[in-house]
């Protein structure tokens, strides 16, 4: 799904963030990317979105080099990015409206996808219901909780039926119970959709809970992908198991006990 080959990336004249970096993600995998501030985890995600370009090497997604944002890639950020003047339903529908606006041009919307208005409505309704926010459809973002806003952002992205979901610290701004709720929801959604998922986080517990594989980044330059296999992630009751705590210790050790 994702092939990062011999990637080099430098901001201006700084130390390269990545230098000859290789990393591969298979379809349907759930990855967490973790590392201290400034390690380049968000940079990696931004490169995957196509909003920035490698200084050297290549990034391919589904076999295609990433030169600009792919319409099939979904992105969820810490900031929900909802339009304050639009209701929850209108916000959830925004991605589909943008696709309708451009038509299936292959640039802004996947080629060949034509969705009738009724089908789009139906799809939005389905995701609102799945995310438990259908009852709030007529409310505005300011009227709902932080967790419900982030659920709206997730509905908005999943309504586009992406084949790859990138998340950058999606739950960091939420309180602990809400965060755990949404982490569980993420695991469920990943099971249901078989979506390839990459979540960037600075939180070790979150990385171990969500990532069946964990990419650990360090102070730049990153030359090698340090990968922790974490097959227990996504299993019921994982959060309370000894294996979970053990994995947290492993990752903490790899991070040098600092993060």
């Amino acid at each position: 799904m994702i092939d990062v080959d011999d990637l080099t990336f430098v901001y201006g004249k700084h130390t390269p963030v990545f230098e000859g970096f290789n990393w591969h993600v298979e379809t349907g995998e759930a990855w967490a990317v973790i590392g201290p501030s400034g390690c380049g985890k968000t940079t990696l995600l931004v490169l995957l979105t196509g909003l920035r370009h490698p200084s050297g090497g290549s990034i391919r997604i589904a076999g295609e080099p990433v030169t600009r944002p792919r319409p099939e890639t979904g992105l969820i950020l810490q900031d929900h990015g909802l339009l304050p003047w639009a209701t929850i339903r209108e916000n959830a529908r925004l991605g589909l409206k943008i696709r309708e606006f451009y038509g299936p041009d292959g640039r802004h919307a996947p080629r060949g996808e034509r969705l009738s208005r009724a089908a789009a409505e139906e799809r939005v309704q389905r995701w609102l219901e799945r995310l438990g926010i259908a009852g709030l459809a007529q409310k505005y973002p300011q009227q709902v909780s932080g967790g419900q806003r982030q659920r709206t952002a997730i509905a908005r992205t999943l309504a586009l039926e992406p084949d790859l979901l990138l998340m950058d610290e999606p739950f960091s701004a939420l309180d602990a119970p809400t965060r755990e709720d949404l982490q569980e929801l993420t695991v469920e959604l990943q099971h249901e959709t078989g979506l390839t998922m990459v979540i960037v986080t600075h939180n070790i517990e979150e990385a171990v809970y969500l990532g069946r594989k964990i990419l650990v980044l360090h102070e730049p330059p990153n030359r090698e992908a340090h990968i922790v296999e974490n097959p227990g992630a996504g299993q019921p009751g994982y959060r309370n198991s000894a294996a979970y705590l053990q994995q947290i210790e492993t990752v903490r050790g790899l991070l040098g006990g600092r993060a």
């Binding site: 950020l77 810490q78 304050p84 925004l94 943008i98 606006f101 009227q143």
Partner: protein, 252 residues
């Protein structure tokens, strides 16, 4: 959440206003302050005729100026708000020009554009232009980059960003700016219409009635001008609510 002026409140305000006017007229008891019982019949009688034509002339000037200012200032404000470099160049200039009372430029405008309707419209549009420009610029600059970034991640390019983000974000700001400056616009219109025209409420109030001591007719003109301002204010206020319903809901 902003309060909405209800119909009952509006009626109550109107009654209080008329009562106060009547009482004042009794107390002052001079021709310069005729009571509403004298003015209102004159107003009703004149409105379908000569007063109506003066009112339409004034309304036409304000509406033309409002439209021109909104259409010109909105795109420029959006551009400045989103392009930091451009804003840095122009913001000192705008900061200096913005507070200048544009009415002082009236003679200059007459010389440049002639004694025409256009000159009067230009002056009012100039005032509204800066009001709208500054508000739209600040509104566009306040759009968080995270919001733009996430809408772009849904596939939006420049055109969709304009259609789904910038336009809906700035329209309420345009209406707010127009609503708060409608009073100034009418005031300037009043001054600009006092000379070098034969139509308009400013001319009617000062030249056709005040200077010839026709006070009840003068008050009919004042009433028409007040209603013009009030009407524009309510139309803009109504439009604002329509495009901006999220500001009028209870916080959750």
């Amino acid at each position: 959440m902003r309060k909405r002026l209800s119909l009952t409140n509006l009626a109550a305000g109107l009654v209080m206003f008329l009562v106060l006017w009547q009482v004042l007229a009794w107390v002052v008891n001079r021709p310069i302050l005729p009571p509403p019982t004298v003015v209102l019949p004159v107003f009703v009688k004149l409105l379908p005729g000569v007063l109506g034509r003066h009112t339409l002339a004034s309304a036409g000037r304000v509406l033309a100026a409002t439209g021109a200012a909104a259409l010109l200032a909105t795109p420029i404000g959006l551009g400045l708000g989103q392009m930091r470099a451009l804003d840095r160049i122009f913001s000192p200039l705008i900061a200096i020009v913005y507070p200048i009372p544009k009415i002082v430029l009236l003679p200059v405008i007459y010389v440049l554009f002639g004694i025409s309707n256009f000159s009067k419209i230009f002056l009012i549009a100039l005032i509204l232009f800066f009001q709208v420009l500054v508000v739209v610029r600040d509104q566009a600059a306040n759009l968080r980059p995270e919001l733009i970034f996430s809408v772009r991640s849904l596939g939006a390019g420049r055109r969709a960003l304009f259609r789904f983000v910038y336009l809906p974000a700035s329209l309420p700001a345009v209406l707010t700016a127009l609503r708060v400056s409608v009073g100034t616009a009418i005031a300037v219109l009043f001054i600009a219409e006092q000379s070098l025209t034969e139509w308009g409420l400013g001319y009617y109030i000062v030249v056709r009635t005040y200077q010839v001591l026709r006070y009840p007719e003068m008050y009919a003109g004042i009433l028409a001008m007040s209603l013009l301002g009030l009407g524009l204010y309510f139309i803009l206020d109504f439009a604002e609510r329509r495009v901006n319903p999220h500001l009028y809901v209870e916080e959750g």
